[in-house]
Assembly symmetry: none
Homo-oligomer: 227 residues x 2
Amino acid sequence: MDNGLKKVLIADDEPDILEILKYNLIKEGYVVVTAENGDEAIAKAKQALPDLIVLDIMMPGKNGVEVCQILRAQPQFKDTLIMFLTALSDEATQIKGLTTGADDYISKPVSPNIFISKVGSLLRRVTKEHNKVIEVNGLAIDPEKFIVQYSGQDFALAKKEFELLHLLISKPGRVFLRNEILSQVWGNDVIVGDRTIDVHIRKIRQKLGVDCITTVKGVGYKFELAC
Amino acid sequence: MDNGLKKVLIADDEPDILEILKYNLIKEGYVVVTAENGDEAIAKAKQALPDLIVLDIMMPGKNGVEVCQILRAQPQFKDTLIMFLTALSDEATQIKGLTTGADDYISKPVSPNIFISKVGSLLRRVTKEHNKVIEVNGLAIDPEKFIVQYSGQDFALAKKEFELLHLLISKPGRVFLRNEILSQVWGNDVIVGDRTIDVHIRKIRQKLGVDCITTVKGVGYKFELAC
DNA sequence: TTAAGTTTTCATTAAGTCTTTATGAACATC
DNA sequence: GATGTTCATAAAGACTTAATGAAAACTTAA
Protein backbone atom coordinates (compact mmCIF):
# COMPACT_ATOMS: atom_id res chain seq x y z
CA MET A 1 0.00 0.00 0.00
CA ASP A 2 2.89 2.34 0.59
CA ASN A 3 3.71 2.40 -3.07
CA GLY A 4 0.11 2.81 -4.05
CA LEU A 5 -0.18 -0.77 -5.26
CA LYS A 6 -3.14 -2.65 -3.92
CA LYS A 7 -2.53 -6.06 -2.42
CA VAL A 8 -5.07 -8.83 -2.86
CA LEU A 9 -5.13 -12.18 -1.08
CA ILE A 10 -7.04 -14.97 -2.81
CA ALA A 11 -7.94 -18.17 -0.98
CA ASP A 12 -9.37 -21.08 -2.94
CA ASP A 13 -8.63 -24.78 -2.85
CA GLU A 14 -8.90 -25.13 -6.63
CA PRO A 15 -5.52 -24.27 -8.16
CA ASP A 16 -7.11 -23.50 -11.53
CA ILE A 17 -9.31 -20.80 -10.18
CA LEU A 18 -6.46 -19.41 -8.12
CA GLU A 19 -4.37 -19.19 -11.26
CA ILE A 20 -7.00 -17.50 -13.37
CA LEU A 21 -7.80 -14.89 -10.77
CA LYS A 22 -4.17 -14.29 -9.96
CA TYR A 23 -3.29 -13.85 -13.62
CA ASN A 24 -6.05 -11.32 -14.13
CA LEU A 25 -5.26 -9.36 -11.02
CA ILE A 26 -1.58 -9.13 -11.81
CA LYS A 27 -2.42 -7.99 -15.31
CA GLU A 28 -4.36 -5.13 -13.73
CA GLY A 29 -1.44 -4.14 -11.59
CA TYR A 30 -2.36 -5.68 -8.26
CA VAL A 31 0.04 -7.45 -5.93
CA VAL A 32 -1.31 -10.95 -5.35
CA VAL A 33 -0.90 -13.41 -2.50
CA THR A 34 -2.57 -16.82 -2.61
CA ALA A 35 -3.68 -19.48 -0.14
CA GLU A 36 -5.16 -22.91 -0.66
CA ASN A 37 -7.12 -23.36 2.52
CA GLY A 38 -8.59 -21.43 5.38
CA ASP A 39 -5.70 -21.66 7.78
CA GLU A 40 -3.19 -20.64 5.18
CA ALA A 41 -5.43 -17.73 4.30
CA ILE A 42 -5.43 -16.52 7.89
CA ALA A 43 -1.66 -16.88 8.16
CA LYS A 44 -0.98 -15.08 4.89
CA ALA A 45 -3.48 -12.38 5.73
CA LYS A 46 -1.71 -11.63 8.99
CA GLN A 47 1.60 -11.52 7.23
CA ALA A 48 0.70 -9.58 4.13
CA LEU A 49 -2.11 -7.33 5.44
CA PRO A 50 -3.82 -7.18 2.06
CA ASP A 51 -6.26 -4.50 1.04
CA LEU A 52 -8.73 -7.08 -0.18
CA ILE A 53 -9.24 -10.72 0.72
CA VAL A 54 -11.11 -13.00 -1.66
CA LEU A 55 -12.38 -16.11 0.08
CA ASP A 56 -13.84 -19.22 -1.43
CA ILE A 57 -16.70 -20.39 0.78
CA MET A 58 -16.05 -24.09 0.28
CA MET A 59 -12.55 -24.95 1.40
CA PRO A 60 -11.06 -27.85 3.31
CA GLY A 61 -10.45 -27.14 6.99
CA LYS A 62 -11.82 -23.74 7.82
CA ASN A 63 -14.33 -22.51 5.29
CA GLY A 64 -14.48 -18.97 3.98
CA VAL A 65 -17.19 -17.83 6.34
CA GLU A 66 -15.19 -19.01 9.33
CA VAL A 67 -12.05 -17.36 8.06
CA CYS A 68 -13.95 -14.16 7.61
CA GLN A 69 -15.28 -14.29 11.13
CA ILE A 70 -11.87 -15.04 12.60
CA LEU A 71 -10.25 -12.19 10.73
CA ARG A 72 -12.99 -9.74 11.56
CA ALA A 73 -12.51 -10.49 15.24
CA GLN A 74 -9.03 -8.98 15.00
CA PRO A 75 -8.78 -5.22 14.99
CA GLN A 76 -6.28 -5.15 12.19
CA PHE A 77 -8.81 -6.69 9.80
CA LYS A 78 -11.90 -4.92 10.91
CA ASP A 79 -11.83 -2.65 7.89
CA THR A 80 -10.17 -4.95 5.36
CA LEU A 81 -12.32 -5.65 2.34
CA ILE A 82 -13.51 -9.23 2.13
CA MET A 83 -15.18 -10.75 -0.91
CA PHE A 84 -16.71 -14.21 -1.00
CA LEU A 85 -16.46 -16.58 -3.88
CA THR A 86 -19.27 -19.08 -3.93
CA ALA A 87 -20.08 -22.06 -6.06
CA LEU A 88 -23.59 -22.07 -4.69
CA SER A 89 -25.83 -19.77 -6.57
CA ASP A 90 -28.01 -20.10 -3.53
CA GLU A 91 -29.24 -16.61 -2.82
CA ALA A 92 -29.68 -17.28 0.88
CA THR A 93 -26.07 -18.23 1.29
CA GLN A 94 -24.95 -15.14 -0.53
CA ILE A 95 -26.94 -12.87 1.69
CA LYS A 96 -25.78 -14.63 4.81
CA GLY A 97 -22.24 -14.34 3.56
CA LEU A 98 -22.64 -10.62 3.38
CA THR A 99 -24.00 -10.40 6.87
CA THR A 100 -21.04 -12.17 8.37
CA GLY A 101 -19.03 -9.15 7.59
CA ALA A 102 -18.04 -9.53 3.96
CA ASP A 103 -18.25 -6.58 1.65
CA ASP A 104 -19.25 -8.37 -1.54
CA TYR A 105 -19.59 -11.79 -3.13
CA ILE A 106 -19.31 -13.26 -6.57
CA SER A 107 -20.70 -16.56 -7.82
CA LYS A 108 -18.72 -19.22 -9.61
CA PRO A 109 -18.12 -19.77 -12.39
CA VAL A 110 -16.27 -16.49 -12.17
CA SER A 111 -16.10 -14.20 -15.13
CA PRO A 112 -12.66 -12.54 -15.02
CA ASN A 113 -14.13 -9.31 -16.28
CA ILE A 114 -16.79 -9.10 -13.66
CA PHE A 115 -14.32 -10.16 -11.01
CA ILE A 116 -11.82 -7.49 -11.96
CA SER A 117 -14.46 -4.84 -12.12
CA LYS A 118 -15.84 -5.77 -8.70
CA VAL A 119 -12.36 -5.76 -7.21
CA GLY A 120 -11.71 -2.39 -8.77
CA SER A 121 -14.89 -0.80 -7.54
CA LEU A 122 -14.50 -2.19 -4.04
CA LEU A 123 -11.00 -0.86 -3.73
CA ARG A 124 -11.89 2.45 -5.24
CA ARG A 125 -14.75 2.87 -2.83
CA VAL A 126 -12.63 2.26 0.20
CA THR A 127 -9.74 4.35 -0.90
CA LYS A 128 -12.18 7.17 -1.18
CA GLU A 129 -14.28 6.61 1.87
CA HIS A 130 -12.45 4.90 4.59
CA ASN A 131 -9.02 6.38 4.27
CA LYS A 132 -10.42 9.80 3.87
CA VAL A 133 -8.99 12.67 5.82
CA ILE A 134 -11.39 13.70 8.54
CA GLU A 135 -11.36 17.30 9.65
CA VAL A 136 -13.22 18.66 12.62
CA ASN A 137 -12.70 22.17 13.92
CA GLY A 138 -9.17 22.63 12.70
CA LEU A 139 -8.02 19.19 13.68
CA ALA A 140 -7.33 16.97 10.70
CA ILE A 141 -6.65 13.28 10.88
CA ASP A 142 -5.25 11.46 7.87
CA PRO A 143 -5.54 7.67 8.15
CA GLU A 144 -3.47 7.15 5.06
CA LYS A 145 -0.51 9.23 6.09
CA PHE A 146 -1.11 8.33 9.70
CA ILE A 147 -0.70 11.87 10.91
CA VAL A 148 -2.74 14.36 12.83
CA GLN A 149 -2.59 18.02 12.02
CA TYR A 150 -3.66 20.94 14.12
CA SER A 151 -3.05 24.57 13.29
CA GLY A 152 -0.46 23.67 10.69
CA GLN A 153 1.46 21.44 13.01
CA ASP A 154 1.94 17.68 12.71
CA PHE A 155 1.51 15.35 15.62
CA ALA A 156 2.81 11.80 15.71
CA LEU A 157 0.51 9.51 17.61
CA ALA A 158 1.22 5.89 18.36
CA LYS A 159 -0.93 3.27 16.70
CA LYS A 160 -3.49 2.70 19.44
CA GLU A 161 -3.69 6.38 20.17
CA PHE A 162 -4.28 7.07 16.52
CA GLU A 163 -6.96 4.43 16.18
CA LEU A 164 -8.70 5.64 19.27
CA LEU A 165 -8.71 9.26 18.13
CA HIS A 166 -9.80 8.16 14.69
CA LEU A 167 -12.74 6.28 16.15
CA LEU A 168 -13.86 9.20 18.30
CA ILE A 169 -13.47 11.74 15.55
CA SER A 170 -15.30 9.54 13.03
CA LYS A 171 -18.55 10.56 14.69
CA PRO A 172 -17.92 13.85 16.40
CA GLY A 173 -20.24 14.61 19.26
CA ARG A 174 -21.32 11.05 19.69
CA VAL A 175 -20.38 9.27 22.90
CA PHE A 176 -18.52 6.02 22.54
CA LEU A 177 -19.05 3.65 25.43
CA ARG A 178 -15.95 2.12 26.90
CA ASN A 179 -17.12 -1.24 25.60
CA GLU A 180 -17.57 0.10 22.13
CA ILE A 181 -14.10 1.54 22.20
CA LEU A 182 -12.70 -1.75 23.39
CA SER A 183 -14.36 -3.81 20.73
CA GLN A 184 -13.61 -1.34 17.93
CA VAL A 185 -10.02 -0.61 18.78
CA TRP A 186 -8.92 -3.68 20.71
CA GLY A 187 -11.23 -6.33 19.26
CA ASN A 188 -13.68 -8.65 20.93
CA ASP A 189 -11.34 -11.26 22.23
CA VAL A 190 -8.73 -9.12 23.89
CA ILE A 191 -9.27 -8.46 27.53
CA VAL A 192 -7.48 -5.43 28.89
CA GLY A 193 -7.72 -3.70 32.21
CA ASP A 194 -10.04 -0.90 33.21
CA ARG A 195 -7.54 1.89 33.01
CA THR A 196 -6.12 1.16 29.57
CA ILE A 197 -8.49 3.43 27.69
CA ASP A 198 -7.95 6.32 30.12
CA VAL A 199 -4.24 6.16 29.69
CA HIS A 200 -4.49 6.32 25.93
CA ILE A 201 -6.93 9.20 26.13
CA ARG A 202 -4.49 11.02 28.35
CA LYS A 203 -1.66 10.49 25.89
CA ILE A 204 -3.76 11.91 23.08
CA ARG A 205 -4.73 14.95 25.13
CA GLN A 206 -1.13 15.40 26.17
CA LYS A 207 0.29 15.18 22.69
CA LEU A 208 -2.31 17.38 21.01
CA GLY A 209 -2.30 20.07 23.64
CA VAL A 210 -5.94 20.96 22.99
CA ASP A 211 -8.56 18.93 24.72
CA CYS A 212 -11.33 18.12 22.31
CA ILE A 213 -12.13 14.88 24.03
CA THR A 214 -14.82 15.05 26.65
CA THR A 215 -15.20 12.51 29.39
CA VAL A 216 -18.73 11.39 30.12
CA LYS A 217 -18.40 9.83 33.51
CA GLY A 218 -19.73 6.32 33.85
CA VAL A 219 -20.41 6.25 30.12
CA GLY A 220 -17.50 6.89 27.81
CA TYR A 221 -15.73 9.55 25.76
CA LYS A 222 -16.62 11.77 22.86
CA PHE A 223 -14.90 14.14 20.51
CA GLU A 224 -16.36 17.61 20.77
CA LEU A 225 -17.73 19.28 17.70
CA ALA A 226 -16.56 22.64 18.92
CA CYS A 227 -13.61 23.11 21.17
CA MET B 1 -24.33 -2.46 17.57
CA ASP B 2 -23.68 0.01 14.79
CA ASN B 3 -23.49 -2.42 11.89
CA GLY B 4 -26.72 -4.19 12.74
CA LEU B 5 -25.02 -7.52 13.27
CA LYS B 6 -26.21 -9.43 16.29
CA LYS B 7 -23.56 -10.52 18.72
CA VAL B 8 -23.87 -13.79 20.62
CA LEU B 9 -21.73 -14.95 23.52
CA ILE B 10 -21.58 -18.69 24.16
CA ALA B 11 -20.17 -20.12 27.38
CA ASP B 12 -19.59 -23.85 27.68
CA ASP B 13 -16.68 -25.84 29.05
CA GLU B 14 -16.95 -28.48 26.35
CA PRO B 15 -14.95 -27.30 23.35
CA ASP B 16 -16.90 -29.57 20.99
CA ILE B 17 -20.23 -28.02 21.84
CA LEU B 18 -18.72 -24.56 21.70
CA GLU B 19 -17.45 -25.33 18.22
CA ILE B 20 -20.71 -26.73 16.92
CA LEU B 21 -22.77 -23.84 18.20
CA LYS B 22 -20.24 -21.29 17.05
CA TYR B 23 -20.10 -22.80 13.59
CA ASN B 24 -23.85 -22.75 13.23
CA LEU B 25 -24.22 -19.23 14.50
CA ILE B 26 -21.50 -17.92 12.23
CA LYS B 27 -23.12 -19.64 9.30
CA GLU B 28 -26.28 -17.73 10.12
CA GLY B 29 -24.49 -14.43 10.16
CA TYR B 30 -24.02 -13.79 13.85
CA VAL B 31 -20.89 -12.42 15.42
CA VAL B 32 -19.75 -14.93 17.98
CA VAL B 33 -17.70 -14.57 21.14
CA THR B 34 -16.91 -17.65 23.23
CA ALA B 35 -15.96 -18.41 26.81
CA GLU B 36 -14.99 -21.67 28.50
CA ASN B 37 -16.04 -20.96 32.05
CA GLY B 38 -18.22 -18.70 34.10
CA ASP B 39 -15.66 -16.06 34.93
CA GLU B 40 -14.50 -15.76 31.36
CA ALA B 41 -18.15 -15.46 30.33
CA ILE B 42 -18.66 -12.53 32.67
CA ALA B 43 -15.50 -10.81 31.49
CA LYS B 44 -16.31 -11.26 27.81
CA ALA B 45 -19.92 -10.22 28.35
CA LYS B 46 -18.82 -6.97 29.94
CA GLN B 47 -16.47 -6.27 27.13
CA ALA B 48 -18.53 -7.30 24.14
CA LEU B 49 -22.04 -6.42 25.36
CA PRO B 50 -23.65 -9.18 23.32
CA ASP B 51 -27.29 -9.22 22.31
CA LEU B 52 -27.66 -12.78 23.49
CA ILE B 53 -25.75 -14.85 26.01
CA VAL B 54 -25.91 -18.65 25.87
CA LEU B 55 -24.86 -20.22 29.17
CA ASP B 56 -24.15 -23.84 29.92
CA ILE B 57 -25.49 -24.63 33.37
CA MET B 58 -22.70 -27.02 34.30
CA MET B 59 -19.38 -25.25 34.15
CA PRO B 60 -16.28 -25.33 36.33
CA GLY B 61 -16.02 -22.39 38.71
CA LYS B 62 -19.14 -20.32 38.42
CA ASN B 63 -22.03 -22.22 36.86
CA GLY B 64 -24.46 -20.77 34.36
CA VAL B 65 -27.12 -19.89 36.87
CA GLU B 66 -24.62 -17.98 38.96
CA VAL B 67 -23.30 -16.16 35.93
CA CYS B 68 -26.83 -15.24 34.98
CA GLN B 69 -27.54 -13.85 38.41
CA ILE B 70 -24.34 -11.86 38.48
CA LEU B 71 -25.01 -10.38 35.06
CA ARG B 72 -28.64 -9.60 35.75
CA ALA B 73 -27.61 -7.70 38.85
CA GLN B 74 -25.92 -5.16 36.58
CA PRO B 75 -28.15 -2.63 34.83
CA GLN B 76 -26.29 -2.99 31.56
CA PHE B 77 -27.45 -6.59 31.26
CA LYS B 78 -30.97 -6.16 32.47
CA ASP B 79 -32.32 -6.37 28.92
CA THR B 80 -29.78 -8.76 27.46
CA LEU B 81 -31.23 -12.05 26.32
CA ILE B 82 -29.93 -15.05 28.24
CA MET B 83 -30.45 -18.66 27.20
CA PHE B 84 -29.49 -21.67 29.30
CA LEU B 85 -28.02 -24.84 27.95
CA THR B 86 -28.66 -27.80 30.15
CA ALA B 87 -27.63 -31.44 30.09
CA LEU B 88 -30.25 -32.26 32.65
CA SER B 89 -33.65 -32.76 31.17
CA ASP B 90 -34.78 -32.16 34.71
CA GLU B 91 -37.86 -30.01 34.46
CA ALA B 92 -37.30 -28.46 37.87
CA THR B 93 -33.92 -27.14 36.87
CA GLN B 94 -35.29 -25.70 33.69
CA ILE B 95 -38.00 -23.83 35.47
CA LYS B 96 -35.62 -22.63 38.12
CA GLY B 97 -33.33 -21.46 35.36
CA LEU B 98 -36.07 -19.37 33.86
CA THR B 99 -36.96 -17.81 37.15
CA THR B 100 -33.43 -16.66 37.79
CA GLY B 101 -33.79 -14.35 34.89
CA ALA B 102 -33.10 -16.34 31.76
CA ASP B 103 -35.27 -15.87 28.70
CA ASP B 104 -35.15 -19.42 27.38
CA TYR B 105 -33.39 -22.73 27.78
CA ILE B 106 -32.49 -25.65 25.56
CA SER B 107 -31.60 -29.18 26.59
CA LYS B 108 -28.54 -31.07 25.50
CA PRO B 109 -27.91 -32.84 23.28
CA VAL B 110 -28.52 -29.67 21.27
CA SER B 111 -30.00 -29.87 17.83
CA PRO B 112 -28.33 -27.15 15.79
CA ASN B 113 -31.57 -26.47 13.96
CA ILE B 114 -33.60 -25.99 17.08
CA PHE B 115 -30.82 -23.95 18.60
CA ILE B 116 -30.59 -21.64 15.63
CA SER B 117 -34.32 -21.22 15.44
CA LYS B 118 -34.57 -20.39 19.13
CA VAL B 119 -31.77 -17.88 18.84
CA GLY B 120 -33.44 -16.34 15.83
CA SER B 121 -36.81 -16.01 17.45
CA LEU B 122 -35.40 -14.60 20.65
CA LEU B 123 -33.42 -11.96 18.83
CA ARG B 124 -36.21 -11.09 16.46
CA ARG B 125 -38.41 -10.38 19.42
CA VAL B 126 -36.09 -7.83 20.87
CA THR B 127 -34.82 -5.41 18.22
CA LYS B 128 -35.04 -2.25 20.19
CA GLU B 129 -35.38 1.39 19.39
CA HIS B 130 -32.70 2.80 21.61
CA ASN B 131 -30.29 5.54 20.65
CA LYS B 132 -32.80 7.66 18.80
CA VAL B 133 -33.18 11.36 19.42
CA ILE B 134 -36.45 12.13 21.17
CA GLU B 135 -37.92 15.62 20.96
CA VAL B 136 -40.83 16.89 22.96
CA ASN B 137 -41.87 20.51 23.01
CA GLY B 138 -38.50 22.00 22.27
CA LEU B 139 -36.61 19.69 24.55
CA ALA B 140 -34.46 17.21 22.68
CA ILE B 141 -32.66 14.31 24.23
CA ASP B 142 -29.91 12.60 22.26
CA PRO B 143 -28.76 9.29 23.73
CA GLU B 144 -25.95 9.06 21.23
CA LYS B 145 -24.38 12.37 22.04
CA PHE B 146 -25.53 12.08 25.63
CA ILE B 147 -26.78 15.62 25.76
CA VAL B 148 -30.07 17.38 26.30
CA GLN B 149 -30.89 20.44 24.23
CA TYR B 150 -33.37 23.13 25.06
CA SER B 151 -33.79 26.38 23.17
CA GLY B 152 -30.46 25.99 21.45
CA GLN B 153 -28.60 25.31 24.65
CA ASP B 154 -26.84 22.11 25.66
CA PHE B 155 -27.24 20.60 29.08
CA ALA B 156 -24.93 17.97 30.47
CA LEU B 157 -26.73 15.65 32.82
CA ALA B 158 -25.05 12.97 34.89
CA LYS B 159 -25.65 9.38 33.92
CA LYS B 160 -28.53 8.54 36.25
CA GLU B 161 -30.18 11.89 35.64
CA PHE B 162 -29.94 11.33 31.93
CA GLU B 163 -31.35 7.83 32.08
CA LEU B 164 -34.19 8.97 34.27
CA LEU B 165 -35.12 11.85 31.99
CA HIS B 166 -34.78 9.57 29.00
CA LEU B 167 -37.21 7.12 30.53
CA LEU B 168 -39.79 9.75 31.36
CA ILE B 169 -39.55 11.48 28.02
CA SER B 170 -39.79 8.19 26.13
CA LYS B 171 -43.52 8.22 26.80
CA PRO B 172 -44.52 11.83 27.37
CA GLY B 173 -47.63 12.27 29.44
CA ARG B 174 -47.52 8.79 30.86
CA VAL B 175 -46.97 8.40 34.57
CA PHE B 176 -44.10 6.16 35.64
CA LEU B 177 -44.53 4.52 39.00
CA ARG B 178 -41.64 4.80 41.37
CA ASN B 179 -41.17 1.05 41.11
CA GLU B 180 -41.03 1.20 37.36
CA ILE B 181 -38.45 3.93 37.49
CA LEU B 182 -36.37 1.95 39.92
CA SER B 183 -36.34 -1.21 37.87
CA GLN B 184 -35.77 0.58 34.56
CA VAL B 185 -33.07 2.94 35.68
CA TRP B 186 -31.52 1.23 38.66
CA GLY B 187 -32.14 -2.41 37.78
CA ASN B 188 -33.93 -5.07 39.69
CA ASP B 189 -31.27 -5.99 42.16
CA VAL B 190 -30.19 -2.61 43.38
CA ILE B 191 -31.83 -1.43 46.54
CA VAL B 192 -31.89 2.29 47.07
CA GLY B 193 -33.63 4.48 49.56
CA ASP B 194 -36.95 6.25 49.23
CA ARG B 195 -35.61 9.67 48.45
CA THR B 196 -33.17 8.73 45.72
CA ILE B 197 -35.57 9.27 42.85
CA ASP B 198 -36.77 12.62 44.21
CA VAL B 199 -33.28 13.92 44.46
CA HIS B 200 -32.50 13.00 40.89
CA ILE B 201 -35.71 14.59 39.69
CA ARG B 202 -34.76 17.75 41.51
CA LYS B 203 -31.34 17.80 39.87
CA ILE B 204 -32.91 17.48 36.46
CA ARG B 205 -35.37 20.28 37.18
CA GLN B 206 -32.56 22.39 38.53
CA LYS B 207 -30.23 21.88 35.61
CA LEU B 208 -32.82 22.36 32.90
CA GLY B 209 -34.44 25.40 34.45
CA VAL B 210 -37.84 24.54 33.00
CA ASP B 211 -39.98 22.11 34.88
CA CYS B 212 -41.56 19.67 32.49
CA ILE B 213 -41.68 16.93 35.05
CA THR B 214 -44.86 16.66 37.04
CA THR B 215 -45.13 14.91 40.33
CA VAL B 216 -48.13 12.65 40.76
CA LYS B 217 -48.35 12.27 44.47
CA GLY B 218 -48.43 8.77 45.81
CA VAL B 219 -47.89 7.43 42.30
CA GLY B 220 -44.86 8.65 40.42
CA TYR B 221 -43.65 11.18 37.87
CA LYS B 222 -44.44 12.07 34.29
CA PHE B 223 -43.01 14.25 31.59
CA GLU B 224 -45.51 16.86 30.45
CA LEU B 225 -46.48 17.06 26.81
CA ALA B 226 -46.84 20.81 27.05
CA CYS B 227 -44.94 22.93 29.50
C1' DT C 1 20.96 -7.75 21.58
C1' DT C 2 20.30 -3.29 22.58
C1' DA C 3 17.67 0.54 22.56
C1' DA C 4 13.60 3.19 21.71
C1' DG C 5 9.13 3.35 21.67
C1' DT C 6 4.59 1.50 22.64
C1' DT C 7 1.21 -0.56 25.39
C1' DT C 8 -0.54 -2.14 29.63
C1' DT C 9 -0.85 -2.33 34.55
C1' DC C 10 -0.72 -0.58 39.16
C1' DA C 11 -1.13 2.71 43.00
C1' DT C 12 -2.46 7.05 44.22
C1' DT C 13 -4.97 11.13 43.94
C1' DA C 14 -8.65 13.93 42.34
C1' DA C 15 -13.13 14.77 40.78
C1' DG C 16 -17.61 13.80 40.42
C1' DT C 17 -21.77 11.21 41.17
C1' DC C 18 -25.08 8.94 43.98
C1' DT C 19 -27.34 8.09 48.11
C1' DT C 20 -28.73 9.19 52.51
C1' DT C 21 -30.19 12.06 56.10
C1' DA C 22 -32.45 15.94 58.07
C1' DT C 23 -35.79 19.27 57.74
C1' DG C 24 -39.78 21.66 56.15
C1' DA C 25 -43.91 22.33 53.28
C1' DA C 26 -48.14 20.70 51.04
C1' DC C 27 -51.92 18.09 51.27
C1' DA C 28 -55.21 14.81 52.64
C1' DT C 29 -57.64 12.42 56.46
C1' DC C 30 -59.48 12.03 60.75
C1' DG D 1 -56.67 21.73 64.04
C1' DA D 2 -53.91 17.51 64.81
C1' DT D 3 -51.93 13.63 62.48
C1' DG D 4 -49.93 11.17 58.93
C1' DT D 5 -48.30 10.65 54.37
C1' DT D 6 -45.65 12.25 50.59
C1' DC D 7 -42.54 15.15 48.24
C1' DA D 8 -38.97 19.18 47.89
C1' DT D 9 -34.76 20.75 49.17
C1' DA D 10 -30.15 21.33 51.08
C1' DA D 11 -26.19 19.52 52.72
C1' DA D 12 -23.02 15.78 54.00
C1' DG D 13 -20.74 11.60 53.31
C1' DA D 14 -20.13 7.33 50.82
C1' DC D 15 -19.07 5.61 46.83
C1' DT D 16 -17.59 5.37 41.86
C1' DT D 17 -15.02 6.60 38.29
C1' DA D 18 -11.34 8.98 35.96
C1' DA D 19 -6.76 11.42 35.88
C1' DT D 20 -2.17 10.94 36.85
C1' DG D 21 2.61 9.40 37.53
C1' DA D 22 5.58 5.76 37.36
C1' DA D 23 7.00 1.32 36.18
C1' DA D 24 6.66 -3.19 34.03
C1' DA D 25 5.80 -5.88 29.86
C1' DC D 26 5.99 -6.05 25.27
C1' DT D 27 7.31 -4.73 20.27
C1' DT D 28 10.00 -3.02 16.77
C1' DA D 29 13.73 -1.29 14.57
C1' DA D 30 18.55 -0.44 14.63
